[in-house]
């Protein structure tokens, strides 16, 4: 049974419609006309324990609103959901014990207090026994490299340090589920990598289920086997990340460099290509080929080329996620 389950979640927001024309400000004040905005429009999903799922979509697609319903912050307009067997918005406090939440845009730490005071408070709030608290804090301090700023007030931390603090706060009480809403937003490359490593590690060690929203596709490629794509409140795609790649980017790119005396052999190879292989770029000692793995295995191509030319270096690349996602957003549909 899925640990996170949602059926037909809908969330609409109402706001008073602005009146245009003369005395618009005053008329707006007295108008009863409401404007309804559908943020989430019938989202259903099921996530199994131990999965890391990427929840993607352009700005305003409804990602954060979905997360806010699953964390119990918002009450949906209609639909049902259970998170570890609990309806989040009905049993907020019980749900809180099961989940860890990180909002990249908003810290849950206490601004005026040193980081370790925030941790202490969280330990108390979530009733972590003292010895477990000690062990978890030590583990997190090491894993996230927080030693040097543990006693610094939160308002003096850099963004990267603060985010590490937030991740630690969300995992200190060992929740079986983590909701991460843009956990790497605004971080530099090194900091992002550290966050990803941590998420991977916590998932491996504790079998923590992770639902992750992000705009950074490196996050997805690195962490998520499965992705959900949402746009205008509807799920466009739910499936393995590899499926998207197969549908959108079935080809592999093979880069080959030959030794100084192999220029002619490389020319010969490029003129007599096996089926399923195209040439993308040809230089004197280097070439890039596009291989369709459904026609010919990549390994066979490599073996063939190595036999025919003095290959000194090679690399197999997949097409980047970035382009795939962009195409889906633009087409508002997923190719089968």
């Amino acid at each position: 049974m899925p640990i996170i389950e949602a059926h037909n979640l809908v969330k609409t927001f109402e706001r008073t419609k602005r009146v245009d024309g003369r005395f618009s400000a005053i008329r707006t004040l007295f108008t009863r006309e409401k404007e309804t905005k559908v943020a989430v429009d019938g989202v259903s999903l099921g996530i199994e324990a131990g999965e890391i799922v990427g929840y993607l979509g352009p700005n305003g697609a409804g990602k954060s609103t979905t997360i806010k319903m699953l964390t119990g912050i918002l009450v949906p307009t209609s639909g049902t959901a259970t998170v570890a067997g609990v309806t989040p918005w009905e049993h907020r406090e019980a749900n809180a014990m099961n989940i860890g939440v990180v909002f990249g845009q908003r810290s849950q730490l206490w601004w005026d207090l040193p980081l370790d005071e925030s941790f202490r408070l969280i330990g108390k709030m979530y009733r972590v026994p003292p010895e477990r608290y000690r062990a978890n804090l030590d583990m997190l301090t090491e894993l996230l490299g927080m030693e040097s700023f543990l006693t610094t007030p939160v308002r003096q931390l850099s963004l990267g340090q603060r985010m590490r603090g937030d991740l630690a706060a969300a995992t200190l009480y060992e929740p079986p589920i983590l909701f991460l809403d843009e956990p790497t937003v605004g971080l530099d490359v090194v900091a992002k990598e550290r966050m990803r490593g941590f998420i991977e590690e916590i998932n491996r060690q504790r079998n923590t289920t992770v639902l992750l929203t992000t705009h950074d596709l490196d996050d997805v490629e690195r962490l998520c086997k499965r992705i959900l794509i949402i746009d205008q409140g509807k799920v466009l795609f739910d499936g393995p990340a590899t499926h998207l790649k197969r549908a959108y980017a079935p080809f592999r790119l093979l880069d080959i460099t030959v030794a100084g005396d192999g220029a002619t052999q490389l020319q010969e190879i490029s003129q007599g290509l096996p089926g399923g292989v195209d040439i993308v770029k040809l230089e004197e000692f280097r070439a890039t080929f596009r291989i369709d793995p459904d026609v010919v295995p990549v390994a066979a191509v490599i073996a063939d080329f190595s036999a025919r030319a003095p290959v000194i270096d090679l690399a197999v690349r997949e097409q980047e996620m970035d382009g795939i996602i962009r195409e889906i957003y633009e087409a508002k549909a997923v190719r089968k």
Binding site: S64, W89, A96, Q108
Partner: protein, 270 residues
């Protein structure tokens, strides 16, 4: 949520209280200015009222010293009034920080109450300064032991009413989104309606009837009157009952408002 659940204290609550008390130290400078403002107000009230008494010992059966003690204790009430809760809720709604409160294993109202209690606990050390200053600017005289006990009970109820009222005002922000104006109006009108400037004894009958129907007198006038000795013995039964009724009523309103607010909630700033 049943009435019983209100008395079920989450083990985290004392910790939130402790943190709030600690955070309150940040407000020390602000408290100092607030204290100066209060004392100027008390001094002006004293000057004006003594001019009204014009040397008479007693007006309308209220001795001058009783009035001065009344005004002094009223000023102290205003100083320690549990109204930080409204600023906390206002801030949490306008910044969207309320999202963080809702992912805690502790109810939203419980957290807000704990923060308010914490800020009162944090400001208690100031009593050492505030009471002597107030005694010099105004006039202080401890009531009889019996009245002191009744006063403390009445004060507790008054603070509870005040806390609940400000919590409801704060939560109205879930609909209004900006409650600065409403807060100011209630704050200014509330001081007057609580009898902090003019005790209810001197209000014209028509006004007094209206004022007695509002919760503000139960937040300030009733305990101050007991402290000053103007209300004592069996006469305190009715005021205490009125206060108790307001506690129950406002508690019901607060819970209802919170229940509705959850569906209304919008998290500002994504």
């Amino acid at each position: 949520m049943t009435l019983a659940s209100l008395f079920h204290v989450n083990p985290a609550a004392p910790e939130v209280i402790r943190i709030a008390a600690r955070q309150f130290q940040v407000y020390r400078v602000r408290m100092l200015f607030w204290l100066i403002t209060m004392m100027i107000q008390l001094y002006l009230l004293r000057v004006v009222w003594m001019a009204v008494y014009d040397g008479r010992d007693s007006v309308n059966g209220v001795p001058a010293s009783t009035l001065l003690i009344y005004l002094t204790i009223s000023s102290l009430h205003l100083f320690f009034l549990p109204n930080r809760i409204v600023f906390e809720i206002e801030d949490r709604i306008s910044t969207g920080k309320v999202a963080n409160d809702l992912i805690r294993p502790l109810g939203f109202m419980q957290q807000m109450i704990a923060i308010q209690i914490g800020s009162i606990v944090g400001s208690l050390p100031l009593l050492v300064v505030v009471i002597p200053v107030a005694a010099v600017v105004g006039q202080m005289h401890l009531p009889s032991p019996g009245n002191l006990v009744l006063y403390l009970i009445s004060l507790f109820l008054a603070f509870t009413i005040s806390l609940l009222l400000w919590m409801v005002v704060g939560m109205s922000g879930f609909w209004l989104l900006n409650i600065g104006g409403l807060r100011s109006v209630i704050s200014i009108a509330g001081d007057f309606l609580a009898g902090a400037l003019v005790p209810l004894w001197f209000m014209p009958d028509a006004l007094r009837v209206v004022v007695q129907l509002l919760p503000f007198q139960a937040m300030g006038f009733l305990p101050a009157s007991i402290f000053a000795g103007q209300t004592s013995g069996m006469d305190t039964v009715q005021p205490l009952m009125v206060q108790a009724i307001w506690v129950v009523l406002l508690l019901g309103i607060a819970k209802l408002v919170w229940k509705k607010a959850q569906r209304k909630l919008v998290i500002q700033g994504g």
